[in-house]
């Protein structure tokens, strides 16, 4: 079967799956899954750029997604004026001494002759610099966190519409990726994987503990939204009229009193679906844009160069391609895309909870999406994002249902039956691993393998 037809078929299957969920559970659930599918697809596209185009093994997806998440807070929350007033001088001082420390140690490294003096110089700079930084930083943090710790206790954000955070999240992730790439990209694939895994843990640790930044484990809830609130929709007359017109068939069948009650229920249902559809529209626009750019980039001479570097670094280097620079480039771009997806996810959740970032869900699951979908193929990654997310979510109810059927012959209060039912949800991890291994073994290119173009 040609790849094009396979693509259509695969996405047809996805549509059918979502429709089944819509009919069997509810359209609300189905749309909720669809929204997360789109976000997952964007994340998978980011990983695919790094792994599929360039062969860079980034196991720190979680970290970049969290950076996107925190930018949603930093962009949308209103600034806390008192906190800034209380601390800006010290913060400025801390920032200056921190940056100066880095600059001076880099300068030492570059200008001094290698040897004991250089090591001593760098060590001294770092120790003195960090001590200075903390001397002005610690009181600043204390003064920020002292302001209404139960409600705020952080610096707040820029007070902009949250949708700007998608861009900002990408920029923040790109900036951090630049720092990481400068340090870690010279390493071979295995080291890079372990290094990025570690760096993502560090990012999460910082987000959990630096309360002045985004309240740490106290979470930031009630983020603003780029779409209307359900409660506003339910009280606006145009929306009620629209629902009345849309469901007029069902309403006409009932009498007056029942009609009012029915209409109310219809409006409540419709408002939540309407909000989800708004999100779907926004997310789909981002996905379409990222996908379009990815396809264009992969077909361009730049994409050809990336694939050449991936397939044979030495040959590409011999042809005059700057391998390290190109690697840094693609690492930054891919991370930025992951950051954008992370910001979208936090926007959808409406809250930022650093504890929810777990490597299995945010790093390894995205990897399963890319490998299963087809690494090196953009449509494959999107497909993987959709398919794996649906399986990940639906494995839980299906697993519980299977257990119920399978243990039906046991007594209601049987200990084994209760245990199996309670823990059935964890089997989805097992199932994900199995899918990954099976695809790797029997269809190494994934469901939609990379198309090898012959010039």
């Amino acid at each position: 079967m040609s790849n094009d037809r396979k693509t259509w078929l695969a996405f047809g299957v996805i549509a059918v799956l979502l429709a089944i969920i819509g009919f069997a559970q509810s359209w609300n659930v189905s749309l909720g899954i669809l929204n997360l599918c789109i976000i997952s697809a964007v994340m998978a596209l980011g990983v695919n750029m790094q792994w599929g185009y360039a062969g860079l093994l980034n196991v720190g997806v979680m970290g970049f997604a969290a950076l996107g998440g925190v930018s949603a807070v930093l962009v949308s929350q209103a600034p806390i004026a008192e906190a800034w007033e209380a601390s800006w001088g010290r913060l400025l001082l801390a920032a200056i001494s921190f940056i100066a420390t880095i600059l001076v140690s880099v300068l030492c490294y570059r200008k001094l002759v290698p040897g004991r003096m250089r090591g001593l110089g760098i060590t001294l700079t770092i120790v003195v610099g960090l001590a200075l930084t903390r001397w002005s930083f610690d009181p600043a943090v204390a003064s920020i966190e002292a302001i209404e710790p139960a409600k705020t206790g952080f610096l707040g954000g820029m007070g902009l519409p949250i949708i700007f955070s998608w861009l900002f999240g990408g920029v923040v992730a790109a900036g951090i990726a630049w720092c990481i790439g400068k340090v870690a990209l010279g390493l071979r694939a295995d080291y890079l994987a372990i290094a990025t895994l570690g760096i993502s843990e560090i990012i999460i640790a910082v987000l959990k503990n630096e309360d002045w930044l985004a309240r740490g484990v106290k979470n930031v809830t009630g983020l603003s939204r780029p779409v209307p609130y359900e409660i506003d929709l339910q009280s606006s007359s145009w929306f009620i009229e629209a629902v009345r017109w849309w469901r007029s068939g069902a309403l006409a069948a009932a009498d007056d009193v029942a009609q009012q009650a029915m209409l109310k229920q219809f409006v409540i249902d419709a408002s939540s679906i309407f909000v989800k559809l708004c999100y779907t529209g926004l997310f789909a626009a981002v996905l379409a844009l990222v996908l379009l750019l990815s396809v264009k980039a992969l077909d361009s001479p730049w994409g050809r160069m990336m694939r050449a570097i991936r397939d044979n670094e030495i040959a590409a280097g011999a042809m005059g391609k700057d391998v390290t620079r190109r690697h840094l480039e693609i690492f930054i771009i891919g991370s930025a895309v992951i950051g954008i997806a992370g910001a979208m996810l936090t926007t959808l959740d409406g809250q930022f909870t650093p504890t929810s970032y777990q490597p299995l869900r945010f790093t390894f699951l995205i990897w399963v999406m890319v490998i299963v979908g087809g690494s090196g193929n953009n449509m494959g990654s999107v497909l993987g994002g959709f398919l794996i997310w649906i399986v990940w979510i639906e494995a839980e109810p299906v697993g519980v249902w299977l257990m119920q059927v399978g243990t039906g012959w046991l007594d209601e209060s049987n200990v084994l039956r209760l245990h199996l039912l309670e823990n059935a949800q964890h089997m989805r991890l097992f199932f994900m691993g199995l899918v990954l291994l099976l695809v790797m073994r029997f269809s190494p290119g994934g469901i939609l393998p990379e198309v090898v173009r012959k010039q």
Partner: protein, 340 residues
């Protein structure tokens, strides 16, 4: 006289909160890192599933311990888990040998690149993680019984008359003793037996070893068996010392990788050195030194803050900062392992 007592108190304080915990945690990390380094040396890939292999072995041990406890069998002052260990080890060996046969062997014969093995090990990680959570659930489980302490803080204070107490938990003592025995056995095996020598030869130069008639399948099998033994014991000791929670074992993967790489990956002595380096830096950087300085300095110089370099939550971050530094300055690790 008072100055001497103060000095002794400060030393006891450090022993109690830094040295003893560092030694036992370091031993646990070292045993784990040995498994990673062996797999790397022989099979040549970074095994992401190692943390979950540990969790699996510990889970079996915990289950058998509970069963023994319910039968009223115990080891007196020692934890019953020691009696359950062989069962855990056997089943873990079965698990890793089955995964090798069903997953890794195919790629080995296909001469796949190390990255493929690594991604496959992520799949294995998912599967064993799922099994562990399915069987025992994601929550904290305690399975420690027997004596709690070798030396308890109260007895120590009474015996020495110091104001600071030193407590050594039985699990900590056991960890250190068992780690020493295991490491001694491992080195004896690697250096004195025929199979051990073959393993080292294979790790050093695969082609030459094959040419000399070393059977690769046998080497790989033995490697997995040793890895399973080390992983189960390390996991059980960690569980006895702290508690058993599947997610913690996934997180342990990070410091274990760091230990293996910092020491020099593929080099068993390096893994042990790395384990202690990582453990001690984690404990030392996150310990609040205020009380120590209160003892050491005259009253007028008493420190105001906690004198803690980093909050305890940055434990995992410490190991990775060290890892990145080592990668930058000396990519082969402290003891010159293989360059990945």
């Amino acid at each position: 006289m008072e100055a001497v007592t103060d000095l002794v108190n400060a030393v006891v304080l450090l022993l109690n909160f830094v040295i003893v915990p560092g030694l036992s945690y370091g031993s646990q990390l070292a045993l784990g890192a040995l498994g990673i380094t062996l797999v790397f040396g022989i099979l040549r890939f970074a095994n992401f599933a190692h943390g979950d292999t540990m969790a699996f072995g510990t889970m079996i041990t915990v289950l058998v311990t509970w069963w023994l406890q319910s039968k009223g069998i115990s080891l007196g002052p020692l934890p019953t888990a020691l009696l359950a260990l062989p069962a855990g080890i056997l089943l873990t060996i079965a698990l890793v040998v089955i995964t090798d046969r069903s997953v890794y062997r195919y790629y080995r014969h296909a001469k796949a690149v190390p990255v493929t093995f690594m991604i496959a090990s992520m799949g294995v990680m998912f599967m064993s993680n799922g099994i562990v959570r399915f069987v025992i659930g994601p929550n904290d489980q305690r399975f420690l019984d027997g004596e709690r302490f070798i030396v308890s803080a109260r007895e120590f204070k009474a015996a020495t008359g110091l104001s600071e107490g030193l407590s050594i938990k039985l699990s900590q003592g056991l960890t250190i003793v068992i780690a020493i025995i295991l490491v001694a056995l491992l080195f004896w095996f690697l250096h004195k037996t025929r199979t051990g020598k073959a393993m080292r030869a294979y790790s050093d130069n695969e082609d030459l070893a094959l040419l000399s008639g070393v059977d690769p399948d046998r080497i790989v099998l033995v490697t997995w068996i040793i890895t399973a033994i080390l992983a189960t014991i390390a996991g059980t000791l960690y569980g006895l010392d702290k508690s058993f929670k599947p997610f913690t074992y996934l997180q342990l993967l990070l410091p274990m990788f760091a230990a293996a790489i910092v020491g020099g990956i593929g080099n068993p002595i390096g893994a042990i050195v790395g384990g202690y380096v990582i453990a001690f830096s984690e404990v030392m950087v996150t310990y609040a030194y205020k009380k120590v300085f209160v003892y050491l300095l005259p009253q007028s110089l008493e420190p105001e803050g906690l004198l803690q370099l980093l909050s305890t939550d940055y434990k995992f971050a410490v190991s990775f900062v060290i890892l990145v530094l080592v990668l930058l300055v000396r990519p082969t690790g402290i003891l010159r392992g293989k360059l990945l």
